[in-house]
């Protein structure tokens, strides 16, 4: 690279990308005019929000929900025991972007932020200015993180990019969107039984959205058009994938692009050709005992919503197929690492629905991870437990030959890391805690080898543990905690020691 850094070069030149301008929602300027070919691979990360591997045919689900991901898997490394860092978007995405667990990055609450002084410990900064770094998230929550480190990104696409309409007025305040988005979230909140926090603005925005939703063709979208739950816009999956494809087409190598897609997050809005695909099929979910806490949904409702969720996955996978075709045509797979994953899963069992609950069962935290290396033509399968905190150190290891010291993840096996069956990976659910205090209430999971231990603490009942052999009992039907005391003790000690040391370290750091 010449004396002028890539960042300065990008800032001096003007944007000519027709696709970005047509989308009309780019918020930072950069120059993407020349291809730089210096042997550095490009990186594309695609995150499907709320996609659980337990509902993917790629991972053995009986419904044919992900044929295109299976196609992609033919030239990718597929991780079969991959876990989210958290059980919902905020901690899950923060873990991916920072390579740290929630007890470190502290984005543990629904609308939480990464610990301010750690914000620069992120994947974009770690990979460096040599990349054209672009991030896009339809889900507003990750946008809060992206706005925490704008200096590490050349482009942050507006969340309503690729969408039908845009009532995200917070986007008007380009340099202060972290506050304007929050304000709009507060004022125009749209939740059942919750009163609007403003008397005019919020109802006005919601009214516009309602009118827009009323114009949607019910023949194509029987349940309505896909919509971002906490953002004011509608979109089609086809437009979304087209938009991503066009953005990649215009990118200048080497680039590092992060795309966080709302599907298959609720509201589940599959097109009519997918909608009732699974209504009358032969698949019957296994009946499981009700969870001890945080339940309330009848199995009939859970089964019905699971059907629609599966249809939405199939819809998203179908449109992903078109994007994969575009990427193949543009030779993206020849010179890029393409990573497809999720931020967390989704549950329809034990009386529990969705992901904003207190549980860390497999459907809620076991997520897909597929990585296609440049020029890869054969499939590889990895069964060692891994976590989204591993993505950052893997990429820095590939690009720079080292991993950041602050990172809690490890290099992924199959991409330079070792198959370590004794390694422990964690998932944390702690949204009821203050980010400024030690974690005392929540659910913690440790996966080690074939086993997973779940620890519930601070709830209205006595603390308790559950232990499962998730490799041989992936449906978690047999709680081994009482019957396998040695494994239970081993994992319990490690988990409790880890939580204690993280809480202690947190207090020391704050002092």
């Amino acid at each position: 690279m010449n004396k002028i850094s890539r960042r300065e070069f990008l800032k001096l030149a003007s944007i000519t990308s027709g696709a970005l301008l047509a989308l009309g929602n780019e918020t930072k300027t950069g120059a993407i005019t020349n291809t730089i070919d210096n042997g550095i691979p490009s990186i594309v990360i695609i995150v499907f929000d709320a996609l659980t591997s337990m509902n993917m045919s790629l991972y053995g689900y009986p419904r044919d929900t992900t044929p295109n991901l299976e196609r992609f898997a033919q030239h990718a490394t597929v991780y079969h025991a991959h876990y989210a860092g958290g059980s919902f978007t905020t901690p899950g995405t923060a873990s991916l972007l920072t390579g740290t667990y929630p007890w470190t990055h502290r984005a543990i609450n629904l609308f939480g932020l990464i610990e301010r002084k750690l914000a620069r410990n992120n994947i974009f900064n770690a990979l460096g200015e040599q990349f054209e770094r672009l991030a896009f998230s339809q889900n507003i929550l990750p946008n809060y993180f992206l706005e925490q480190f704008p200096e590490d990104l050349e482009v942050i696409l507006d969340p309503a990019s690729f969408s039908i309409d845009n009532y995200l007025y917070g986007s008007l305040f380009h340099n202060d969107r972290i506050n304007s988005y929050r304000a709009q979230d507060f004022l125009a909140l749209e939740e059942p039984t919750v009163l609007s926090r403003s008397l005019l603005f919020g109802p006005f925005v919601n009214y516009l959205m309602e009118q827009k939703r009323a114009t949607v063709n019910k023949d194509i979208y029987p349940l309505g058009m896909p919509q971002v739950k906490n953002g004011a816009f509608l979109f089609t999956l086809a437009d979304l994938m087209n938009g991503i494809g066009n953005t990649l087409k215009k990118a200048s190598e080497p680039y590092m692009h992060y795309y966080h897609i709302m599907a298959p997050h609720e509201p589940y809005r599959p097109e009519s050709r997918f909608y009732q695909r699974y209504e009358a099929d032969e698949f019957v979910p296994i009946k499981k005992p009700r969870a001890k806490i945080d339940t309330g949904y009848k199995q009939v409702r859970l089964d019905a919503n699971r059907n629609i969720y599966d249809a939405f996955i199939a819809n998203a996978d179908h449109e992903l197929g078109a994007l994969l075709d575009t990427m193949e045509k543009n030779k993206v797979f020849d010179n890029s690492y393409v990573i497809i994953t999720s931020d967390h899963g989704e549950m329809f069992e034990r009386g529990v629905e969705g992901h904003l609950n207190s549980h860390l069962y497999e459907p809620g935290i076991r997520i897909p991870l597929l990585i296609s290396a440049p020029g890869q033509i054969t499939r590889k399968d990895i069964y060692t437990p891994t976590n989204n905190v591993d993505i950052l150190p893997t990429l820095t290891s590939i690009i720079h030959g080292n991993t950041p010291s602050w990172c809690e993840g490890k290099v992924l096996p199959g991409l330079g890391g070792v198959d370590d069956l004794e390694r422990s990976v964690f998932t944390v659910e702690a949204k009821s805690n203050s980010t400024f205090h030690p974690l005392t209430k929540g659910t913690f999971a440790i996966r080690k080898g074939n086993h997973k231990l779940i620890y519930y603490t601070g709830y209205d009942i006595d603390d308790f543990f559950e232990l499962y052999d998730v490799e041989n009992d992936s449906e978690e039907l047999n709680d081994l905690y009482p019957s396998n005391p040695s494994m239970a003790k081993l994992m319990k000690e490690e988990l409790l020691d880890t939580i204690l040391s993280q809480n202690t370290r947190f207090m020391e750091t704050r002092e």
Partner: protein
Amino acid sequence: MQKIIHLVKNKIPTWEKIIPVYAVITFVIYGWTLYWFLHDLTAWLNYLKPIEIINQYTYVLMVNLLESLFILLVVLVLCIILPRDWLFTEFVYRGTAISLFIVIYLIALIVRRSQIMVFSINMVRWFPIILLLALLLVVLTGRLTFIKRTIEEIADRATIFLYLNIPFSILAIIAIALRALK
């Protein structure tokens, strides 16, 4: 054109009369949002620093200002287009009463929406008629001295909140402009 301007000017109340009416509007608009802000504050304190909460609230203040000005504009437009005797006369009482009606109607709309998850189309469509009926009621009840005095007293006392809400909102707009421009 001059004639129209003169006509309009003659039907806009003086500042002394507009201020108490606007004060009541801001009291309800700001008060409603402030109530919910305090309701959500304990949750925010779990993950936001006080300065971050304040920064977010500057946008809320700006929106509240725009909302209150919009409702005032509606009342003033009514004042201009309706016969003088309807609203212009006894503007403090009638303007305050009709403003209260508008904001209470908005609250009812919101409450209804929270129950059925869509805006009641009838409540939206019928609003202009209901507003005129409300105005008629206001005119009639104005003959009851007790009601008239009470409303005027409320408007007068609400003025103190105006001297808090508006300066804070202006400061908020300045803060937003500075952050947006940096």
